[in-house]
């Protein structure tokens, strides 16, 4: 893969890129941690909190079923939240950096 002729270190150090990096990292890893945590609540709940999962709340529908269905809703919500955030914020910030790449990173 041929390297482009840019001063990558300068771009990396640029406040614009640092801003993107900070926002993105915090958002992505936070969302990632939450989704893993929420997912593992299901097997843990099904194994150790069976009485709770068996509680019927809507005819034969119990908390366990509702919780399993909620996993789908949460996964889809994460996808929508991320995509909104990325489209509205990260893509805009990245586009600015790309537009100024030659200027900030200039030829070495």
């Amino acid at each position: 893969m041929s390297s482009m002729n840019l001063n990558w270190a300068a771009i990396e150090a640029d406040p614009k890129f640092q801003n993107l990096h900070r926002r993105k990292s915090r958002f992505l890893w936070g969302l990632m941690a939450f989704s893993v945590f929420y997912y593992f609540l299901l097997p843990i709940g099904a194994a150790y909190y069976q009485e709770l999962f068996k509680t019927q709340i809507w005819g034969p529908v119990n908390i366990g079923l509702v919780f399993a269905l909620s996993e789908f809703i949460v996964a889809w919500s994460i996808a929508v939240i991320y995509s909104k955030k990325a489209n509205q914020e990260f893509d805009v910030l990245a586009a600015e950096i790309i537009a100024n790449a030659q200027q900030i990173g200039g030829k070495k």
Partner: protein, 676 residues
């Protein structure tokens, strides 16, 4: 523990010889329908391949469809890659037999895509070109990382491929009754035709067609099942709880404790956890392998190189999540629907693992086994399942062939000095090699227990591929030493733990079970209650050191001896001539035939392990107690990358970090990289 067989073994279940019905699920007089539907679907995919073949000129066309696939199209193709026969037939089957636990199982497969969406898809699009090893080679020693990367890709693909080929052969045999070898060769030849002539363009479109057919068929079935209840969830589940077949199934699973439960309680139990999964640690281990393994599967990763930009990559994961998630919600109705319409006993009668639940439901909804429409619907679902296997195998072969041709041949052997024409030739030759290998392995593995292979594929992807990809993208100090260490240790740990896990065949246990089935169990005395005890050592529940924890058990009454198959058959044969009623007699004959089949199976098992006392790894019982190695091998894989990187510091890898990090975040130069 009879129901807690490996969680990733759905495809493996398909592959056990005992499940293969002799004549196939479609009755012979309607066989022409099956061939018509199969013919139509194969014809359609062949036409697509013909059109695609005209568009494949360069290596980029062959590997990544020239980066010209849109986000929506790629989303359907990813869903197609992921909704293999295992999830389509397997999960619906699990739900039909075990209720809630089957549904819970499907959740992990969707959640896995969050990892792909958040941290893998876009950076890979921005950094990679054709293969996983492209990402690893970016700022590291290209030869070393390409070798380990390509070997890992080939390993993962081969495991997955073997399970698909064996499972596919058995599935086609069960559904329409053609020979195992012919099925395997047909799958292999069709797949080769798609990949060889149409490359990624054809593979992608075949996946899209198949995914659309699959989703459409499922929606039709779910509407037919759910509409009578006015699309009300409680009303539908009420009928599940009240169904006598469901109650009988729960009573059968629970055994003795079911005796004190009312019919309503038994039915409700179907909607509660604990009928299938016994060991929570195993489930957590599987969850880890899914959440980290999916993002490391080479044929999934490769899909992100087929879209033009990171934005399209993002869009494709979102579409894939919508389709995959929506499909898994439908499986709840497919599974529960077949439990009440067809009945668990009938489903398990055709196939122990429940894989025939969805096809049988289709047959029922069409009007049953004797109707034209019923058989047409069964044939349609069967054809979709067949297309699924061919398409998934095509994706896997493409991934393995690209690692062989692009990484090993072009990258390592020729040092990147090849003409574009040579690249395409190398890709096609590799495809033929991998395809021929897949057919050979598929036939050689006939009747083998390949259950552990899917688990292995996910485990290796999660323990070797993912730590390397993730850390080279996000950790400045990651370098060649880390990648090589991570790939080797991750792969090695995952494979060796599976080799000593309960997934393997342990002759002693097989012999004990078979003897018990044949000769029955002697009477047992009353047992006092057992108190819960913690494990002797911290790791005792995972590996065979010291005593594992003990769960509390209530006191048990004395039990009379249980008759074995030999005794049961003798009694049934004695009774048969005394039955006068024709219908009763037919039923008794059917029961007797089933008993005899079970006896033959037990005797065959005994014969297979004759003279053996140890498993392939030389053990009499599993040393590692979990079915999935993820809990141990994933952390070890990450650790190996970190330690390897710190031990062999590499200035160049760190100097290249800024370039990689800026590119993976912004996509500068990505369009250009795709153009070459």
């Amino acid at each position: 523990m009879k129901h807690s067989f490996s969680l990733l073994t759905l495809l493996g279940l398909l592959a056990q010889p005992a499940l293969a019905a002799e004549a196939g699920a479609v009755s012979p007089e309607y066989r022409f329908l099956t061939f018509a539907v199969f013919g139509a679907i194969i014809g359609l995919t062949m036409f697509v391949t013909y059109v695609a073949a005209k568009r494949v000129h360069s290596a980029a066309d062959f590997y990544t469809a020239g980066g010209g696939i849109s986000g929506l199209q790629n989303g359907w193709a990813i869903a197609g890659d992921y909704l293999s026969a295992a999830s389509f037939l397997g999960i619906a089957g699990l739900i039909s037999l075990y209720g809630y636990d089957g549904f819970m199982y499907s959740v992990g497969w969707l959640v896995a895509y969050i990892t792909v969406l958040l941290v893998i898809a876009e950076p890979c699009r921005n950094i990679g070109k054709y293969t996983l090893a492209d990402i690893l080679a970016y700022r590291n020693n290209p030869k070393a990382t390409r070798i380990v990367g390509a070997l890992s890709v080939i390993t993962v693909s081969t495991f997955y491929l073997t399970a698909q080929m064996v499972g596919g052969g058995v599935l086609v045999k069960t559904l329409i009754g053609i020979d195992y070898e012919i099925s395997v060769v047909t799958v292999g030849v069709l797949m080769l035709a798609y990949v060889l002539f149409g490359g990624m363009v054809a593979s992608t479109w075949v996946q899209i067609i198949k995914a659309v057919l699959l989703v459409t068929a499922s929606i039709v079935l779910v509407i037919a099942v759910w509409a009578p209840y006015g699309f009300s969830l409680p009303a539908f589940l009420e009928s599940v709880v009240g169904d006598a077949k469901v109650q009988a199934q729960v009573a059968k699973i629970l055994g003795d404790p079911a005796k004190n439960m009312s019919a309503a309680e038994l039915g409700q139990r179907f909607l509660e956890p604990g009928l299938f999964f016994k060991d929570p640690l195993d489930q957590v281990s599987l969850g880890l392998a899914l959440v980290f393994g999916t993002a490391g599967l080479p044929h999934i990763l490769m899909r992100f190189f087929t879209v033009p930009t990171a934005q399209e990559a993002r869009k494709s994961v979102i579409w894939a999540m919508a389709i995959i998630g929506g499909f898994y919600v439908l499986t709840l109705f497919l599974g529960m629907g077949s439990a009440i319409k067809v009945g668990s006993a009938t489903i398990a009668g055709v196939d122990k693992g429940g894989n025939m639940a969805a096809p049988l439901l289709a047959q029922f909804i069409g009007g049953g086994a004797d109707s034209m429409l019923g058989n047409f619907m069964l044939a349609f679902v069967a054809a979709v399942a067949f297309a699924t296997i061919v398409a998934v195998v095509a994706g896997l072969v493409l991934a393995a062939a690209s690692a062989m041709a692009h990484d090993l041949y072009v990258g390592v052997i020729r040092g990147e000095h090849v003409t574009p024409a040579e690249q395409v030739t190398a890709a096609r030759i590799s495809t033929v090699i991998v395809g021929a290998l897949a057919i050979t392995i598929g036939i050689a593995a006939k009747g083998q227990n390949v259950a552990h292979l899917v688990a292995l594929a996910f485990a290796v992807a999660a323990s070797a591929n993912l730590p390397c990809v993730l850390l080279t993208l996000y950790w400045k100090k990651c370098n060649t030493g880390g990648i090589v260490a991570g790939m080797i240790i991750g792969t090695f740990t995952a494979i060796s733990l599976v080799m000593v896990s309960p997934n393997m065949t342990y002759p002693e246990k097989v012999r004990k079970d078979a003897n018990k089935a044949l000769n029955g169990t002697p009477a047992s005395e009353a047992k006092p209650a057992v108190e819960a005890k913690p494990a002797e050592y911290f790791f005792s529940d995972i590996i065979a050191i010291g005593k594992g924890s003990v769960k509390a058990k209530p006191a048990e009454d004395a039990k009379p001896a249980q008759p074995g198959l030999i005794e049961k058959i003798a009694k049934a044969e004695e009774k048969l001539p005394t039955i006068a009623d024709a219908a009763d007699k037919a039923k008794a004959e059917k029961d007797l035939a089933k008993l005899k089949k079970d006896k033959a199976k037990a005797e065959e098992d005994l014969k297979k392990v004759e003279g053996q006392t140890e498993s392939m790894a030389g053990l009499t019982e599993p040393w590692f107690k979990l079915k999935n190695p993820g809990l141990i091998s994933i952390p070890l894989g990450f650790l190996a990358v970190i330690i390897g990187s710190l031990l062999f510091r590499d200035r160049r890898a760190e100097e290249m970090w800024e370039e990689l990090y800026v590119r993976q975040n912004t996509g500068i130069g990505a369009a250009k990289a795709a153009a070459h």
